[in-house]
């Protein structure tokens, strides 16, 4: 994957943890490159290192050795403030448990990243409503997360991740708590967004429902990349074609 439009790049990336005096290797010599518009997945069982890799690519964590580059910024050299700035402008996150802010309405949850960016009110309103239209939840703008189903909550989380039009969206097990019907809705939504906005989506998953949608599958086992292949037929590919 050596394109000139590389958004993310890792080189000999190693991440270790020390637990009770024992050194645990979470990622071992990972070399990956992601380009604009990819719909890729980190696949593997629990403990294979996919969430750790996602966290480093999202500048939430730092490599122990090697390097990770996000939009030309070396993650290991970023200060907390610089990393936060990078996340606020260029990276959207979707979590397994959607992590909506419970006291905010749907509208306010989606608006949050734009508030952090200091987007003017009128522009903010338009972007929030656009994002809610994309995920077909404009009519639930004034609802609280507790009033939504799991699928609706995850779609709000997607709207929150894409409202600022980030280059990269990192999704950690986004369908783990959803039934088949809701999973399909959520994945269709993300596939459409990837196609329409050329956003790079990277998933950490071991859910077959997600894996079927991926255009690139990266298999991790014990922190090592054991397979990295492009899939030529997927719902996303078909949609693009």
């Amino acid at each position: 994957m050596n394109g000139s439009t590389a958004l993310l790049k890792t080189k000999d990336l190693v991440k270790t943890y020390s637990i009770g005096g024992t050194r645990l290797i979470a990622l071992n010599k990972v070399n990956l490159t992601f380009e604009r518009g990819e719909f890729a997945g980190l696949i593997g069982p629990s403990g294979s290192g996919k969430t750790t890799l996602l966290n480093i690519l999202g500048t939430l964590d730092r490599p122990t050795e090697g390097s990770a580059e996000v939009l030309g910024h070396r993650v290991e050299t970023l200060s907390h403030k610089e990393a936060a700035e990078l996340r606020s402008r260029h990276i959207g996150f979707i979590f397994q448990t959607h992590n909506l802010l419970p006291v905010y309405t749907v509208y306010e949850n989606v608006e949050f990243p734009l508030l952090v960016l200091g987007t003017p009110a009128a522009e903010r309103h338009k972007k929030v409503m656009d994002a809610l239209q994309w995920v077909r939840l404009a009519d639930r703008a004034s609802s609280r997360p507790a009033q939504l189903s799991g699928g609706q909550s995850q779609r709000v989380a997607i709207a929150r991740a894409i409202v600022k039009r980030p280059e990269i969206v990192l999704a950690d097990e986004p369908t783990a708590n959803l039934d088949a019907e809701n999973s399909r809705h959520v994945l269709d939504t993300m596939a459409e967004l990837s196609r329409d906005l050329h956003t790079t989506f990277i998933f950490a998953t071991h859910d077959e429902k997600v894996i079927r949608y991926l255009r690139r599958k990266i298999v991790l086992s014990d922190g090592v990349v054991i397979e990295d292949r492009v899939v030529h037929s997927s719902p996303v590919k078909e949609a693009v074609v």
Binding site: N55, L60, A84, R87, F95, N99, L101, P102, E108, V116
Partner: protein
């Protein structure tokens, strides 16, 4: 600004618990201001009453006069200095002669201070006009406390005994012309007011006085002393006992409001600690969405500080009418308050200055902000990945 908006959203989103906390804190606000205003009012009322009825705008004292040393009182009299005579003649000062004596009534003698005052004076609001002298029995003015102690009422007769300027004991009958009600104990208990001329004659101290009371608002210029060693005592000096008493009361009020403030702060501290514990996943999410640790700390601190801001607003909503009513109507005082060291009359009128209100508000705000900030320091050590997993680092 964004952080403040987010903090306000979080605060308002917390619902009834947050408002309950705000209400408790507003009570602390109102009680603190209420008590302080009450004691300020009491102090001012005591000072005003003393000034009006006893000390005027200050006093010139005979060099031997010391109210704390009654042994010297026998010599504490002398001719009124010429410098003060013109002030007295202009009605801006009035002399008072004090002689130690005894009063016989109800079958017993009791020590009293016989005080001579000019019945035509307008310097003090004492009802001295009832002392217009006439031949025969001297009219006397006493207070309600004195009347109660001695078992006297208006038009009763009593006998007073004293030693004159040359040391000779003498006695005379007096008629109680008026029993006055006053909140100033020091012109009442153990005091018998007589016409100045009469007392001067009785004590063979013609033209003499113990002190001269200057009218309130009369400017004292030049050196604060008159001839023959008479010295001027200003209001700060004369009201020192009142101020000391109020300071003692204020200390107890301070303890009460320190406890109230402490309780209010404990609830906020507890809420903040629990918030950071229970909301760590939210903190992780906020960091993932691009908030810096500093911004998260500011947000949590502001959330806590909003307690004080809203408590001030809510407190003002019910305290302004309530305290305003107390300022206008006064607070009825139960009988027997004198035994607590107060002597205030039927009602006390609290006084609330801008300095008291804004000072208390600022104090509560600063303390609340500090208490809100302290637990948030934990966030500074928090790794976003740990927080997202719901763990504290």
């Amino acid at each position: 600004m964004t952080v403040a908006k987010l903090a306000l959203r979080n605060f308002l989103g917390a619902g009834a618990k947050a408002w309950l906390r705000v209400f408790v804190l507003s009570l602390a606000f109102v009680v603190i201001i209420g008590l302080q205003g009450l004691y300020t009012g009491i102090g001012q009322q005591m000072a005003d009453a003393s000034s009006a009825i006893e000390i005027g705008g200050g006093q010139y004292w005979h060099p031997k006069y010391d109210p704390q040393n009654m042994m010297e009182l026998v010599d504490a009299h002398g001719p009124i200095p010429s410098e003060l005579k013109s002030v007295i003649e202009s009605g801006r000062a009035t002399p008072i002669l004090i002689v130690q004596g005894y009063m016989y009534s109800g079958g017993s003698f009791r020590p009293v201070l016989l005080k001579g005052i000019d019945p035509t004076q307008r310097v003090l609001s004492l009802p001295a006009d009832v002392l217009v002298d006439s031949p025969g029995t001297s009219p006397a003015l006493i207070g309600t406390r004195m009347a109660k102690d001695a078992g006297l009422k208006e038009d009763d007769l009593a006998t007073v005994r004293w030693r004159d300027a040359v040391g000779t004991f003498d006695a005379e009958e007096i008629r109680i012309a008026r029993v006055m009600s006053t909140s100033v104990q020091t012109v009442d208990s153990g005091q018998v007011w007589l016409p100045l001329d009469r007392l001067q004659r009785m004590a063979r101290m013609n033209g003499e006085a113990t002190l001269v009371v200057v009218a309130n608002g009369t400017a004292i210029t030049g050196s604060a002393s008159a001839g023959a060693g008479w010295t001027f005592k200003d209001l700060d000096f004369l009201l020192a006992d009142v101020h000391a008493m109020i300071q003692t009361k204020e200390l107890s009020a301070t303890i009460v409001y320190a406890i109230l403030l402490f309780l209010g702060m404990i609830t906020i501290l507890d809420t903040q600690i629990l918030s950071i514990f229970y909301r760590k996943k939210e903190i992780g999410t906020l960091m993932a969405l691009g908030l810096t640790r500093g911004a998260v700390i500011r947000m949590f601190t502001l959330e806590g500080a909003f307690n004080a801001v809203l408590a001030a607003v809510i407190g003002a909503a019910y305290a302004i009418p309530l305290l305003g009513l107390l300022v206008t109507m006064g607070i009825p005082m139960p009988s027997g308050t004198e035994q607590m060291g107060f002597s205030l009359g039927d009602r006390v009128y609290p006084r609330y200055s801008a300095a008291l209100v804004f000072g208390t508000t600022a104090l509560v705000f600063v303390v609340t902000t500090i208490v809100s900030y302290l637990p948030t320091r934990k966030i500074a050590k928090l790794q976003p990945t740990e927080a997202l997993r719901g763990r504290l680092g």
